[in-house]
Every structure is written in structure tokens, then in C-alpha cells.
Symmetry: C2
Subunit: 332 residues, 2 copies
DNA sequence: ACCTGGTTTGTAACCGGTTACATGACCCAG
DNA sequence: CTGGGTCATGTAACCGGTTACAAACCAGGT
């Protein structure tokens, strides 16, 4: 026996489907009598409305599609938490699609959401502007997070990488560090690129040299990068990693090699994931959850029919100084 | 101008909707001619099928509903990652519903998924067996994770809390610890209860006393618990926290008070979140992602029509010894 | 020329809701 | 007693796909 439908309820309550629908949607113009018959029938049959059918006829799903790359660790959970908080506050659900590979797959994932969601939040720092522009279905409202350019004129929320990096440069230079290493994040990732470029520019402006080595945002890559540098005998007195995971890996490599932090080498990360606080890592604090929250908020406003500026909202991060650069901060 | 529908495509290609559907679904019996006309029309109109309508007519959504409480931190991201990995491997999406409050809300969340998903994975350690049984819509396939009892006869995947706790007891006793504190997790949470009860039983069996203090799984509660104990002047030589977050809080409180770990007090957690490795925390390794993966796997098998044992699958965790109990492990 | 069998194609019903519009009941004023 | 207004209710179309079934078509065989 299949699940009951609204017609089953109507039959049982001896009324029309229209009346059942009216009762279920709490419309006013229904007699007491009808209302009772319907609620009884609903209870007796254990009827639960079919959300899919409802969405189809209303052209409204109350779901938001979230497309994001295969993140590791806390960045993922934080941003999803931020979105979820905002979504459930407004009665929306999140439809998640983790995109593992290339642009082809991303485009498919977004298309697959047509008709399932009212709008999209897209986190795709690995796609180029064009790839993005034609992956996003034309008439679907979408908000982008940390993408390059302004693909398709969609509104976006972005992290001000330059400002964060600038603060790092200032801090390291004021500590008197002269030979600085930057471990860059995954190749092709827009955040990785922006951070590396901005860091290089910021240091050049201050007359300090940087060497950039390639990482991929994983802890292992940070560790490997430092191991390689140490082995090569290259001297350096500060390391700025493109994210906290790599900074953590770098720290481990330094500890293992007996290099004193921060006395001999200062270490700075980016993101301020919860782990950073625990290991006393100086880092750039990005309220990740807030980024997600803002993106969702903006999308919901658009769905509610509000006018959107269409612009890119910049979120300025803040430097948090801890013991990997400041010995006095060691206590915690 | 609204999004194109299959009928628009049919009109443009001068064929029937049936033919368009056949082309889109790669059925064999379509002439070369028709196929080309359709693909051209699809391209020209930028047509993307409406997944919602498709699901309705096929009674298949290719989505799995995930209901879980408002988790903090890495447990959440790990379990979702595990599920997502398995889901996307099989062409499914995840519809997330974070349930913040009581049983009423949970029931609503699950009902709201009817017609949007093909099955449910439910993580509800805070609900009683009855609450769960009547929150889950009758004819929706569902797999439970870490719930009490066998609500509604749904298959489940569970963590063998007793086995993990047993190992902790063994370890602490073999280290010669005699005055042991357990910081319990959130009241009413089945995992918290199982761990506390099993730990008490295991220690009694070994003739060692335990004192149980109440926490709520947050880092702050772990910190507060230890602060209170230290202030009260109570003596103890080991702390076993109901999860890693509380253990981390406990560690911080001990460090701040100048208590040496593990010499004076040994500390053990539960879960093995990534952070644990970084702070050298001895803990019970759960492989959270695998739990999610298994639950999803099982659900997909049921959806594929396979016979399910209907039983509760127990996952045995393993003790990982690090420097908060073993000085020799301090290196990492 | 006609029948047969196989293939391609189109029509229309269906999935499970919502809702515009028509209908009928009822009440009150004239 | 009739006409007009209000209100509750029902009928049927619609949302955008899929697909059973029937019709049309095209050979090949006799």
C-alpha cells in the first residue's frame, strides 16, 4: 500500500481535494465541519504532503543549492554551518553538492539542481570566470563566494585577501624578519593566487624579499615544503602559509627539525580555523561561518524580491597574533 | 521570459515531447534526424531539465535526506563528508536539515522531506525511541546512526561505546591511576549516557572509583568542569572526557593551573577529531566519516532493492595512545 | 498490390499537489 | 417572492516531466 495522497484524504473525508488543500494551508474560508473531517482523515491515514509535488505546482522549493569543492576540514563545516543557520531560520533547506573534479562536473552539478532549488550559493575558487559564467543556469538566482571576476553579473561575497595579507606583511616586517617564505595554496585556486600575489607585492613595497613555494592547502604539503627547504639549507626567518592547515604542517616540520618558533622562524597561517587557537598559531581571522551566512542572506533577499546591488561584498579579515610570532603571547 | 520547458523544445524542434524526452534520456529508438533536431533546439534554448518535475513523475529524487542535530565542529563535517562521498559516488545529492531543538521540530523536519528524498539518514542521539519511531514517516526508507533502541525496526549503524570505554578503563588502570574523573557529555544524549554508564561499570569491575561530573560536549564545559574540581581541592590522577572537545577544554584548565600532564593527571578523550592528534590527546578513534559512509551505503542498498538485515551494525572504535597519557609518546 | 513485422513517432494520461473559476446554498433587503 | 451578495465547496486545468499505447511509416516477402 503506497503512501496516501491528497486525493485519498479527500475521499476519506468526503470532501474535494481543494478543501483538503485549503485546510492544510490554513486558509480561512473553510467551515469548522470540513476542517475537522479533513484533520481526522489526515490523522487516520498518516498523510504527509508530498513536498516535491507542492514545489512543482508552486514553482517554489524552499531549498537552496550549495555547490562547493571537496573541502577538507573545518573550512567546509564552518561555511556550511553558517549557511544552514541562516537557511533554517528562514525555513529553507540546503541541498549539498560537493564537486570533486573539473569544470564539467561543476556545470552538471548546477544543472542537476534546476527545479530542486530556488537559488544557488556557489563556492568555486577553482573555476575561471567563463567556466563559472556558463555553468550557472541562466535564470537561477545565484550568489558567489570567493570567485574570480564577476561571472555572469551575479552578486558575490568575497574575502579581502589583500587586506589580510597586508596585515601579515606589516606584522612580519615589524618583527624585523628579512627572509620570508610563502607556501602558496593549490595551483589555480583564486584565493591561493590572490594571497600569493598580494603578499609578494606587499613585501616588495616594504623592500623585503619573498620566496614562494608551491603547496596545495593540505597539511602534508606544508610539512613537505618546509622539509624540502630545510634540507636544501636555505635560510629563512619567517613562513607565511596560504592557510592554517599548511601552517600547521610547517610547524610540525620545524619542531621536528628542532627549529625554535618563533625565535628562529615565525609562522603565520590564514583562516583561523579552531585548531589555530589550540596550537597558538598567528593567523588571519576569517569569520568563515559569517561568509556563508552573508551569502545566504543575500540570496534569500533576492528570492524575496528585494533589489540587490549586484555588487561584490568584501569582507575584511583581521590579524590575530599568537605565539608562533609573538613569544609574549605564548601563554595561550 | 521564463525558463524553457520540454514543450518549448519540442515545438522548436518540430517533434513531440515524447521524442525530446527519449533523446534526453538516451533511449535507443530515435532516428538520427530527430536526435539532431532535438539537441540543436536544446542548445539554442539553453534548456535544462526540471529535476523536480522529473522526480515527481518517476517517484525517484536521487536525493538523500540527512537529519542531524546542531553539531559543533569536526564531528559534523566528518560525518557529512563520509556521506557525501558515498552519495556522490552513486549519483545522489544530500538534503541537509540541521535540527536545532526538540522532538517536535525533528518530526517536522523529517516530514518536510517527504517527496524530496528517496530515503533518510537520521542522527538523533537526543531523541527517545518513541519520539524517533513516530517522527520517521512510515514508508520512507531510513537508516539510523547512534540512536537508542531499534526505533521502528529501522536498520542502524552504531558506535560500540562500551568497547571504546572499556579500552580506556584498561589503559588508565594499567597506568596505575586510582582516582579517576569522567566528564559526561550532554544530558539526555544517548552516546553520553552509554559512555558514562559503561565507564562506571568498567572501572567498578576493576575495583577503581570514578567520579562523574556533568558536561555538555563543548570545550567550555570541559574547562569549567576541571576548574571547579581544582577549586574544590578534590584530588584526581586521570580525566576521561566524553568527547575530545571537552578533553581539550580540560587540558587547558590543567595547563593553566600548572598541573603536569600526564605525570600528575592523565587525560583521555573520545572521537579522535583531527585536533586530537595535534594536541597529543590520547583518545578513542571513531572514524566518523566511515560511520556516515556505512549508513549511506546501507540506505542506498535498500533503495536499490536489496534485502537488508534490518540489524544494528556495531562499529568498534580503537584506543589511540598519545602524550596526554604516555610520556614516551610525547614526540608527536 | 497487399500483408507482415519492426521501427519511429505522437497523443494523452499520470505523478501529487494548487488554485481560478463556476456552482450552489443561504441570508437579507426590497 | 425575487434579486443580489457572501461564503463554502467542487471541478478541472496546470506545474514539467515520463511513458503506455496507438498510429504511422517503411521495408521485404509473396
Amino acid at each position: 500500500m503506497a503512501d496516501a495522497t491528497i486525493r485519498d484524504v479527500a475521499r476519506r473525508a468526503q470532501v474535494s481535494v481543494a478543501s483538503v488543500s485549503r485546510v492544510l494551508n490554513r486558509l480561512e474560508n473553510v467551515s469548522e465541519e470540513t476542517r475537522n473531517r479533513v484533520t481526522d482523515a489526515v490523522r487516520e491515514l498518516g498523510y504527509v504532503p508530498h513536498a516535491g509535488a507542492r514545489s512543482l505546482s508552486l514553482a517554489k522549493t524552499n531549498a537552496i543549492g550549495v555547490v562547493l569543492p571537496d573541502f577538507h576540514g573545518e573550512f567546509f563545516s564552518e561555511i556550511v554551518r553558517g549557511m544552514d543557520r541562516e537557511a533554517s531560520r528562514h525555513g529553507y533547506m540546503l541541498l549539498l553538492s560537493n564537486v570533486h573534479a573539473g569544470s564539467e562536473q561543476s556545470a552538471n552539478a548546477m544543472r542537476a539542481m534546476r527545479g530542486r532549488v530556488d537559488g544557488l550559493v556557489i563556492l568555486a575558487p577553482h573555476l575561471t570566470e567563463e567556466e563559472l559564467a556558463d555553468a550557472v543556469p541562466a535564470r537561477t538566482p545565484a550568489v558567489l563566494i570567493n570567485t574570480r571576476g564577476v561571472a555572469g553579473g551575479h552578486p558575490g561575497v568575497r574575502l579581502d585577501n589583500a587586506a589580510g595579507v597586508e596585515a601579515v606583511a606589516d606584522h612580519l616586517v615589524s618583527l624585523g624578519r628579512k627572509r620570508i617564505i610563502h607556501i602558496a595554496g593549490a595551483a589555480g585556486n583564486i584565493d591561493a593566487i590572490e594571497r600569493a600575489d598580494a603578499f609578494k607585492a606587499a613585501l616588495e613595497k616594504r623592500g623585503v624579499a619573498v620566496e614562494i613555494v608551491q603547496g596545495d592547502f593540505t597539511e602534508e604539503s606544508g610539512e613537505a615544503a618546509i622539509d624540502a627547504l630545510l634540507k636544501s639549507g636555505r635560510k629563512f626567518d619567517a613562513v607565511f602559509a596560504g592557510n592554517d592547515m599548511m601552517a600547521s604542517g610547517a610547524l610540525q616540520a620545524l619542531n621536528r627539525a628542532g627549529v625554535r618558533v618563533p625565535d628562529e622562524v615565525a609562522v603565520v597561517g590564514f583562516d583561523d580555523i579552531p585548531l589555530a587557537r589550540h596550537i597558538g598559531l598567528t593567523t588571519v581571522q576569517v569569520h568563515i561561518a559569517e561568509l556563508g551566512e552573508r551569502a545566504l542572506d543575500r540570496l534569500l533577499a533576492i528570492l524575496a524580491g528585494e533589489e540587490d546591488s549586484g555588487g561584490q561584498e568584501l569582507h575584511k579579515p583581521e590579524l590575530v597574533i599568537r605565539s608562533t610570532t609573538d613569544p609574549k603571547a605564548r601563554s595561550r
